[in-house]
Amino acid sequence: MKKTRLWFGIAIGALLALGSRHPAWAQQKGEIKIGLSQIASGVAADYWARQVNKPALLAIDDANEKGGVNGRKVVGILEDNQGSATTGAAVAHKLIEIDKVSMIFVAPTPAVLATLPIAESAHVPVISTSISPKVSASPWGALAQPPADRQGLAYAKFVIEHKFQRVADLTGQSDSDTIASKAFHDAVSKAGIKVVDTETYEVNAQDFTAQLTKIRAANPDCLLIQSLSGATYGFVLKQMAQLGFRPPTILTYYQIADPQTRKLAGDLVDGIYFIEIPVDPEWNARVFRPRMGYDADGNGALAYDAIALYLDAYATAGSDDPQKVRAAMLNYKGYKGAVGAWGYNGQPVTQVQYRVARMKPGGGTEIVP
């Protein structure tokens, strides 16, 4: 028994000794450290790495290539929060106290909301691509993703403009889907359009046949399908085909353009409308694709821009005082990046708007004016 404990203690000691070589512990003068509390495990791990973690780190690399922030090197410290509140809290403390980060870029929602109280009392700004309104309500938070009700209103605008009479909504249970769905329903009902059926699928569901059967029976002329995952869209479309169900118009979120969807659903995706974050194709071709080997989607673009705009603003703040840096960021004008020209316009919420696009038969997408 004693021997086991001894070996265990030696193992821990060795790990910690190895760890002392970790860059975060090496004290470099004048460096600016950015904490990235994100998902690096679980079902979404690879997607998250592609379209959140790597774009954020790319923005840091690009800033350094341009000379850093007023000549100071920027270091990104990525920690896995497992999408959980408990781990998120531990990560927040670690980034703030041990790494001494200037800002925490954190998602998804459970991790953000666990991070907020800690960051608030430590006076560390938090930037998030979650959609929780609590982030923008906090004096230290900023939302780099359009809030969910803007999503819902974008859906509603499309439906109202095209004068559909019978819409149906297939929505998930994430906080994003729930809030967007409500905003959508309110706007559409106010315009006198009938929502003939709303069905909800559970988190991580892969079988939507029950929900789709009920929607099929309601015979909508436009179906809104809400999801944050390309694979989910793939399954939904296949199961719609399985039920011989294809409403005249389908409206979705931009994840329909994720390569995973076409891999699953093939040309079932053709002609489907979706709302998207306007990614600048020139930026994608020049900055992103050559180094990453794939295209940035809305999440990738927003992640890149959130970090890049923060760093650009930091250079103009004239101080390391986090409150001043945050104010500089919120009021920063003239940034043009992955989503084109945008800013916070003084509000702790990005002003980026959605636009409508459509899946082209045979591949690719086209913007719908």
């Binding site: 760890g19 791990a45 559970e202």
Partner: protein, 289 residues
């Protein structure tokens, strides 16, 4: 400082959960899949009372106890009389129902948007500040729980439980009301998890349904098996290892998208190796057999 305090607080809360699991699984031999969900019921009940009713910590804790004990009683009534493997499935079903309620009963739980802004714990007018004071508070409560557990298992109840775990027919023949004894311990264990849930709510000051899913229950199982069941030291060591080890890994400079997968694969392997070579865990007195 806050980082270490945070980790120690999490270890305290997990120790409480592991101690409860030790009573249910270690002593009584019941493989409960509903552990995390019961913790969630305690957490949400307390949060509801504090956030939406505006009451204090004591009524919140009492509410948590009451609701969780009631749910545990109902669960036990259905599942305890079933065969060992049905107990697993029965508690699996109950856990799914509870998680569905967490996600969908939005008037109480706010669904997937979560309950944010749970007030800082305060007892009789004294605020228990986040950080060291809260850790002290958790540590005291955890010690109390471990004490209660120790008294419980030294009493006839504990011995009866182990007898029922080893051979329920013999225990029954000898005059023990096996069903009742198991129900009692399940409800007691559930009440302890409710207390852990209250502390979790006050600690994170935010609750969401994904915090109480099956991976959390399996984590507590792992903590119990690593630390060792039927024992007190094990219920502290297990959580400590499972919390500190991944945090220590952060400092080793490993990177890449699959580090967490390697870590979880190692946990799986650890469970297999433990059953193979050290089924009583590091400090346990009973081999899970």
């Amino acid at each position: 400082m806050g980082y270490l305090v945070t980790l120690l607080t999490i270890i305290c809360i997990y120790t409480m959960l592991t101690a409860a699991m030790d009573l249910i699984l270690g002593y009584a031999g019941l493989f409960s899949f509903v552990h995390a969900a019961l913790c969630g019921i305690g957490a949400y009940s307390a949060a509801f009372v504090m956030l939406k009713l505006g009451w204090g910590l004591v009524p919140a804790t009492l509410a948590a106890f009451a609701v969780t004990a009631a749910v545990a009683q109902a669960t036990a009534a259905v599942t305890v009389r079933l065969d060992e493997h049905y107990f697993i499935l029965g508690t699996f079903c109950v856990a799914n129902v509870i998680l569905s309620i967490f996600e969908n009963w939005t008037d109480v739980t706010n669904g997937t948007s979560g309950l944010y802004g749970i007030p800082v714990a305060s007892l009789f007018g004294w605020t228990i500040a986040p950080g060291l004071p809260f850790l002290g508070f958790c540590a005291v409560l955890t010690a109390a729980v471990l004490f209660v557990k120790w008294r419980l298992v030294s009493a006839p109840l504990g011995i009866t439980l182990q007898a029922t775990r080893e051979d329920e027919i013999v225990a029954w023949v000898l005059g023990n009301n096996v069903r009742q004894v198991r129900t009692v311990i399940f409800v007691i264990g559930a009440t302890i998890t409710a207390l852990a849930g209250v502390l979790l709510a006050c600690f994170l000051r935010y609750l969401d349904p994904t915090s109480f899913d099956f991976s959390f229950t399996i984590l507590i199982w792992a903590a119990l098996f690593v630390g060792g069941s039927v024992g007190t030291l094990g219920t502290i060591v297990g959580p400590a290892i499972l919390v500190l080890f991944p945090e220590a890994l952060r400092f080793v400079g490993l990177s890449g998208p699959h580090v967490a997968n390697v870590q979880q694969a190692l946990y799986g392997l650890l469970l297999i190796l433990l059953m193979m070579f050290r089924p009583q865990g590091f400090f346990g007195h009973h081999s899970v057999r």
